[in-house]
């Protein structure tokens, strides 16, 4: 007997029990219980008559850096991290979206150098945004971006490189991250200045400036 059939049988018995109580028991309180039992049994029977669909979990994906053989593998791994462990998609969208609370990342791999993306992920307060739209002193907008290499997200360096590779591929750029770099990551010197590519034309109202007074660093 299937689980649904078993539950239907139990439901019918429960409804029958409730009807019996109403028919043969005089105690008012027990009759109320009988009525409740009929209602609950009927509800279960209706719920058992609609299509029964359970939601099964997908297979667990493991991020095996060792399995990466080509830049495309790297980008594919980065895509998985972007939408899961990295939690990037919680705030960012790729393409216009009403629900995105943070900048749209479409084409970001073509606009920004990988070194700058890396720094934005691991030291988001390194640069702050200045808004010159008003005829006043520029307003500062400190980044709300979390440190992606620290808890609770805590991506490893190879994982961050994978995400950058994904962003480049998604932007139609050739992937500049090399597989060898992932396998044996070298300690990199933090660069004082980072080239910024394609942040907009000269009339753009929002510019990026190097922070000088970010005490939180």
């Amino acid at each position: 007997m299937s689980e649904v059939a078993l539950l239907q049988l139990i439901g019918l018995i429960v409804v029958g029990l409730g009807i019996s109580i109403l028919l043969f028991i005089k105690s008012k309180f027990l009759r109320v219980i009988g009525f409740v039992v009929i209602v609950l049994g009927s509800f279960s029977l209706v719920a058992l008559s609609v299509p029964q669909m359970a939601s099964l979990p997908p297979a667990i994906e493991s991020f095996d850096i060792a399995s990466v053989e080509s830049p495309d593998d790297l980008a594919s791994l980065g895509q998985k991290i972007f939408f899961s462990k990295g939690q990037c998609a919680l705030c960012h969208s790729i393409g216009p979206s009403e629900s995105a609370r943070c900048p749209d990342l479409a084409g970001i791999g073509a606009k920004l150098a990988p070194e700058f993306i890396y720094e934005s992920l691991t030291d988001p307060q390194a640069y702050i945004y200045l808004d010159f739209r008003h005829d006043q002193l520029p307003e500062e907008y400190p980044a709300q971006m979390p440190y992606i290499n620290k808890n609770p997200i805590a991506l490893s360096k190879p994982e961050i490189y994978s995400v950058i590779a994904f962003l480049q591929k998604m932007s139609g750029e050739p992937i500049s991250i090399k597989v060898e770099d992932i396998m044996s990551p070298q300690s990199e010197q933090e660069e004082e200045t980072v080239a910024i590519h394609g942040t907009g034309d000269a009339s753009s109202s929002v510019v990026v400036a190097q922070a000088t007074t970010t005490g939180s660093q």
């Binding site: 209602v39 609950l40 049994g41 667990i60 939408f83 939690q87 919680l90 629900s99």
Partner: protein
């Protein structure tokens, strides 16, 4: 010994010097090393445990049962003080003692349920810590400051409740204001107790990235997740609805068991007030639910689709059925009231009641029509798909929103009809006001339908952002204009038929019980929906459920579980209320002369919006 100077200890004859202490200590460490190492291993092993299971019932099922009981009890405990306090204020302002007595009776139910709620909360916490240690460690890391806030709120709530309940009789007269202030504090702390755990649960469904910062900053950032306030508002209203209908069911059962006329009158009146509170809360509840759903879609479209169009889609057909029965039950109780409490009104309102019934049933039929029909292959081929060529149009949101708004309108008009029954307006402008209300009602009904039909021909975003919102605003407009207008009309109205309490048929008591069961089932069903929308995540997109229970069960199994939970809760509530009223039984024993000696003449009742005869104040509660 406590004040003994240190040098006396040094010079004591105890045979262990500093050097020998080190030697002995070293030996002890060597001897105990295997035990210490084992303990360390055990601790490391314990720290790495992600899940534990309970054989037989399973960890998820036991959490499901205990959490549901705790949530329902908590909903009752947090909802009742709101209207108990309002009742007390009404009694204080109108000087009508019966409202004060009713408020006290509500609070009596509250005090007895409070300890049981805390008990289930404690059991739930132990089970969560034991069965889901990894998840709880993660949540504790983020939310620990809010745990402290919760504990403080709980202490404040408990102390206030004690003072509120035990100080009721002592704080009468010129101290009443102090008691009402205590009631205000009670509700304030209760809302705090509700919204803090809501943050934990909503974070699981709609987490935000928690950046670096102090513990308080991190907890606050996590609390302010996108669905926190929609759930807060939705639960606040739903708790009032739950509390109202449960008090109504309590009164319904007491009415059925009542022996004396006084008891019948009192519990008839209490049942009316409970139903009134439930309906009052139920009218704006769909709007709050709509806002919550909208936020979920905005937060994560995939989650919205899982709920409304994925494996949970059929759940909303069940929801429609439960809400439909609840609307029918609440209206039926109003209609019974017109027929039995206001003699002579039945014939006058027969046609409007029939029209309302037809509209409600038609709306329910539309609401329950699924988008994709359960059909065999041959049937699907004949239809040209799983969508019925005619009925398929009723399966989409535009139709559902339209009929839900119409059902709210009808229910509201049932209440207005009940309010006006047995009275004749005497104001000179009454005719014009009634005509205006009629025109407004007709325009509102037509506008809701037109917007619903128009919604089929515009992009979804226009419908969701503008049309649905406009439908909601139209219905709210009707409610906020009709209520004061009717109150003004009734102020100078002449009573033609006195309202008589305690004459309702037995089925009125059962309809009150039915309404409560529907609300409990609805809360259970939507709790399952909210939890299942996270699919295989403990914290959506952040912490995956890797246990054996990571799947979401099918509706039939879940519904059977909900029924079991509802039944357990009903028995629990019955036991708690029975215990709470044990002391009254001795006081309310009928005198030796039998009940007939106490039966007052009929027709001594006075009509009022919240109902009741002048004698109600004299009744024992």
């Amino acid at each position: 010994m406590y004040g003994r100077p240190l040098h006396i200890l040094r010079n004591s004859t105890f045979p262990i010097s500093g050097v020998s202490l080190l030697k002995w200590g070293g030996l002890l460490v060597l001897l105990l090393f295997p035990i210490l190492a084992w303990a360390q291993d055990a601790a490391t092993q314990a720290m790495s445990v992600e899940y534990r299971d309970l054989p037989g019932i399973g960890s998820r099922n036991i959490i499901w049962i205990v959490a549901q009981q705790h949530l329902l009890l908590a909903g009752f405990v947090l909802g009742v003080p709101i209207f108990a306090w309002v009742c007390e204020i009404v009694g204080w302002k109108t000087k009508e003692q019966r409202y004060d007595k009713l408020a006290k009776e509500f609070t009596k139910l509250l005090t007895s349920a409070y300890a049981t709620t805390a008990l289930f909360g404690g059991i739930l916490l132990f089970l969560l810590v034991g069965l889901y240690p990894k998840l709880m460690a993660y949540l504790t890391d983020i939310f620990f400051p809010s745990f402290i806030a919760y504990c403080l709120l709980f202490i404040a709530e408990t102390a206030t409740l004690y003072m509120y309940w035990y100080g009721w009789d002592a704080m009468q007269g010129n101290k009443k204001f102090l008691h009402i202030f205590l009631g205000f504090l009670l509700n304030l702390f209760a809302i705090g107790i509700m919204i803090v755990p809501n943050a934990w649960a909503t974070f699981q469904a709609s987490p935000v990235v928690v950046a670096d910062g102090t513990a308080i900053e991190r907890a606050w950032a996590a609390m302010q997740n996108p669905t926190w306030w929609p759930v807060n508002i939705h639960r606040l209203i739903a708790n009032v609805v739950l509390g109202g209908f449960i008090c109504g069911a309590y009164a319904g059962v007491r009415y059925l068991l009542a022996v004396t006329r006084e008891e019948k009158e009192h519990y008839d009146w209490m049942g009316y007030v409970g139903n009134f509170i439930g309906v009052f809360g139920m009218l704006p509840l769909p709007f709050a639910g709509y806002w919550l759903m909208r936020e979920i879609y905005q937060y994560n479209q995939q989650m919205g689709i899982t709920l409304m169009g994925g494996f949970l889609a059929w759940l909303f057909i069940l929801q429609a059925m439960l809400i439909g029965v609840l609307f029918l039950g609440a209206n039926y109780y109003f209609w019974l009231g017109i027929a039995h409490r206001i003699p002579g009104s039945e014939g006058q309102y027969k046609k409007p009641i029939m029209a309302m019934l037809v509209v409600l049933l038609a709306c329910l039929a539309v609401w329950m029509t699924p988008h994709s029909l359960v059909a065999s292959l041959a049937e699907a081929q004949k239809m040209g798909g799983t969508h019925h060529p005619l009925l398929g149009v009723f399966g989409v949101m535009s139709a559902k929103m339209t009929v839900s708004n119409l059902m709210i309108l009808v229910t509201f008009m049932s209440f207005i009809m009940y309010w006006r029954a047995g009275k004749v307006e005497t104001a000179g402008w009454a005719k014009a006001a009634k005509a205006l209300m009629g025109v407004l009602l007709a325009i509102a009904g037509i506008a809701v339908i037109v917007l619903g039909v128009w919604g089929y021909f515009v992009p979804a975003i226009i419908r969701i952002n503008y049309f649905s919102v406009a439908q909601v605003l139209i219905v709210i407009f009707i409610m906020v204009t009709f209520t004061p207008l009717t109150a003004l009309l009734m102020k100078s109205a002449k009573t033609t038929t006195e309202m008589v309490w305690g004459q309702m048929p037995v089925r009125a008591g059962y309809s009150l019980v039915l309404n409560a069961v529907m609300v409990i089932l609805l809360m259970s069903l939507m709790g399952y929906a909210r939890s299942s929308s996270r699919v295989h995540w403990h914290i959506y997109g952040v912490m995956r459920d890797t246990s054996d229970y990571a799947y979401s069960p099918a509706l039939g199994y879940a519904a059977a579980f909900m029924s079991l939970n509802t039944f357990v809760f009903c028995l629990l509530a019955a036991f708690i209320f029975w215990v709470a009223t044990l002391g009254d039984k001795a006081k309310n024993q009928p005198p030796a002369g039998g009940e007939e000696a106490k039966v007052p003449p009929l027709g001594s009742a006075a009509p009022a919006m919240a109902g009741g005869s002048p004698r109600q104040g004299e009744l024992s509660s």
